[in-house]
């Protein structure tokens, strides 16, 4: 009870000291500079090259219009359909990659024998960019949905597995020794020492994994696939509906940011000990 109160107070304190510092004001100066550069270069000064770009007002009018010119705004169900489909693909791929990658990484780090068998093969396949798999994925999996999910999964899977393995290798040997000393069996040591000990790396891996998932999702959706945010961007380009390109990009950035924040929150929730250590030592 008091614990949550203390956390609350700490948050309030941080917010108030953040507001007192110049940080938020500088941040808005920065945003203002970026947006006004966009506005002036395209609409007012009409700089060469820039004048072909969709303008700030055009994009935002379209985005917030109840009756959008190109048919996509926050009021159209179509917009949410694209978002929903992209999110669903990310969810499938990310969950599958986590469900397979974390256990595999844990066992690779834990068992030297397994590592000696699997790791060279893993390292052999890893340098191939995920996006080079696109045609092969289309050949191997039927339909347009599975190839895109497979690509997204592949990118996440490599990141998660590798980081989890590094996480296990990073655990100080004294922890497992202490566990053995206290009478833990090999399996108990795995559950109580290896899994939580690797947790910080696992979550770093998941953070990277969600990033690369969006990265390859966009590529997959642009090349093949129907619906989705990458698809919006690509078709808007082909149909010369340029303001939609920007709407697609902003939406992607937004959801990319939110999903990675969610992963971070999940990590904080599962690693209370780190949060509390950092809260004590933090400035």
């Amino acid at each position: 009870m008091s614990q949550s109160n203390a956390t609350m107070n700490l948050t309030m304190y941080r917010i108030s000291s953040w507001l007192k510092s110049p940080k938020p004001y500088l941040m808005f100066v920065g945003f203002g500079l970026v947006l006004s550069f966009w506005y002036f270069s395209v609409e007012v000064w009409k700089l060469p090259r820039f004048q072909d770009m969709p303008s700030l007002t055009e994009v935002f009018e379209e985005w917030f219009s109840e009756d959008p010119y190109y048919g996509l705004s926050i009021y159209t169900p179509e917009y949410y359909k694209h978002i929903g489909i992209s999110l669903r693909r990310i969810a499938y791929a990310f969950c599958l990659a986590t469900a397979l990658g974390v256990p595999l990484g844990l066992f690779l780090g834990w068992s030297q024998k397994l590592r000696e068998y699997i790791f060279p093969l893993f390292e052999l396949l890893r340098p191939i960019p995920v996006l080079a798999w696109v045609p092969l994925a289309i050949i191997m999996f039927s339909g347009s949905e599975t190839p895109v999910i497979f690509l997204t999964f592949l990118a996440s899977f490599f990141a998660t597995t590798l980081n989890t393995m590094l996480g296990v290798e990073s655990i100080d040997e004294e922890y497992s020794r202490a566990a053995y000393c206290l009478g833990a069996s090999r399996w108990q040591t795995f559950v109580h020492v290896v899994v939580p000990g690797a947790m910080p790396y696992i979550f770093t891996g998941l953070q990277i994994s969600i990033g690369v998932a969006w990265f390859s999702l966009v590529a997959g959706e642009m090349v093949s696939g129907q619906y989705g945010l990458g698809y919006i961007i690509n078709t808007a380009y082909i149909m010369v509906q340029y303001s939609q390109i920007i709407i697609g990009m902003i939406t992607l950035g937004l959801f990319g940011y939110v999903t990675s924040a969610l992963v971070r929150l999940a990590g904080d929730y599962m690693m209370q000990w780190r949060v509390r250590e950092l809260a004590l030592g933090g400035d």
Binding site: D172, E174, Y175, R177, A178, A179, Y180, C181, L182, G183, A184, S185, Q188, H192, V193, P196, G197, M199, M271, Q272, W273, R274, R276, E277, L280
Partner: protein
């Protein structure tokens, strides 16, 4: 020969006999002798201080008793039972011999209480309620009440050390193996920790195998000092500390303490110089 009192207060179990132990490391084909024909006899209930310069091979000895390393030749017995020797390459790590590590190996992801309950929980002989009741009681006895639900990272390093010793005692071990546990503490905290350790020892008589390079610590705590020669490690001189237990900090200023100190110091300094010069040659 020992200064141990011959009365009922001493445990019957926990005698360690190290017999003609040799340990040779063989990294990159260059054989390095870490322990050379070393024999030490530790009666049950003795606080035996192993003193020697850094990197002399003391920790190797401790690791073979704990079961983290194997031996090259020789025997180690616990109560006349072979822990390791020819035919039994490595001792089985077990909760009859618990190590308190140099850098501390409390699991940072478990609360202090969970850390203390870890050993019995792994053994699973008692019910969870019984274990936690015992753990809470032991924490109160050791002056640790109020820190049960904190994570190790949230309390001072001195407190952490005490939690770790309590954790080790929860399994009712016959032997505690200390690997320079107070190395990282400042000298003021150290003196508090010494008294706390003795306090715990008087309540739970166990055999203590304590590695240190701090002479004052060694004489204050130990029944006996075994001063080791630097690489390869073998006993060079045994110093009996005939100051009666229970001791407190007034012992430090007693003339007898000074005498023992002077007796030991010459030998230790000579070994430290040898180790230092050997280190220079290697580098």
């Amino acid at each position: 020969m020992s200064t141990l009192p011959k009365d009922d207060s001493m445990p019957i179990k926990g005698a360690i006999r190290i017999e003609d132990v040799v340990k040779v490391y063989d990294p990159d084909g260059a054989a390095v002798m870490a322990v050379d024909h070393c024999s030490i006899d530790i009666p049950a209930g003795e606080i035996c201080m192993i003193v020697g310069p850094s990197g002399c091979g003391k920790t190797t000895l401790l690791n073979t008793i704990a079961g983290f390393h194997g031996l090259t030749s020789g025997h180690i017995y616990l109560d006349d039972e072979v822990l390791c020797g020819p035919g039994k390459e490595k001792a089985e790590p077990g909760s009859d011999r618990i190590v308190v590590f140099q850098n501390g190996a409390l699991f940072p992801w478990k609360t202090n209480l969970d850390n203390i309950a870890f050993g019995p929980m792994m053994e699973g002989k008692l019910s969870k309620d019984e274990i936690y009741e015992k753990a809470r009681k032991m924490m109160v006895d050791a002056g640790l009440e109020g820190t049960e639900d904190s994570f190790p990272g949230e309390v001072s390093s001195g407190l952490r050390r005490r939690v770790e010793i309590v954790r080790a005692l929860m399994n009712e071990p016959k032997v505690l193996l200390f690997d320079e546990p107070y190395r990282a503490l400042d000298s003021l905290t150290k003196s508090v920790m010494h008294e706390a350790l003795l306090d715990i020892y008087y309540k739970n008589k166990v055999t203590i195998f304590f590695i240190t390079h701090d002479l004052e610590e060694a004489i204050f705590l130990g029944h006996r000092l075994i001063i080791m020669s630097s690489r390869p490690c073998k006993p060079k001189k045994i110093v009996e500390v005939d100051i009666p237990h229970p001791r407190d900090y007034s012992v430090l200023t007693s003339p007898r303490f000074r005498e023992i100190m002077n007796e030991a110091k010459g030998v230790v300094n000579e070994e430290a110089r040898k180790a230092f010069e050997a280190g220079e040659k290697e580098g």
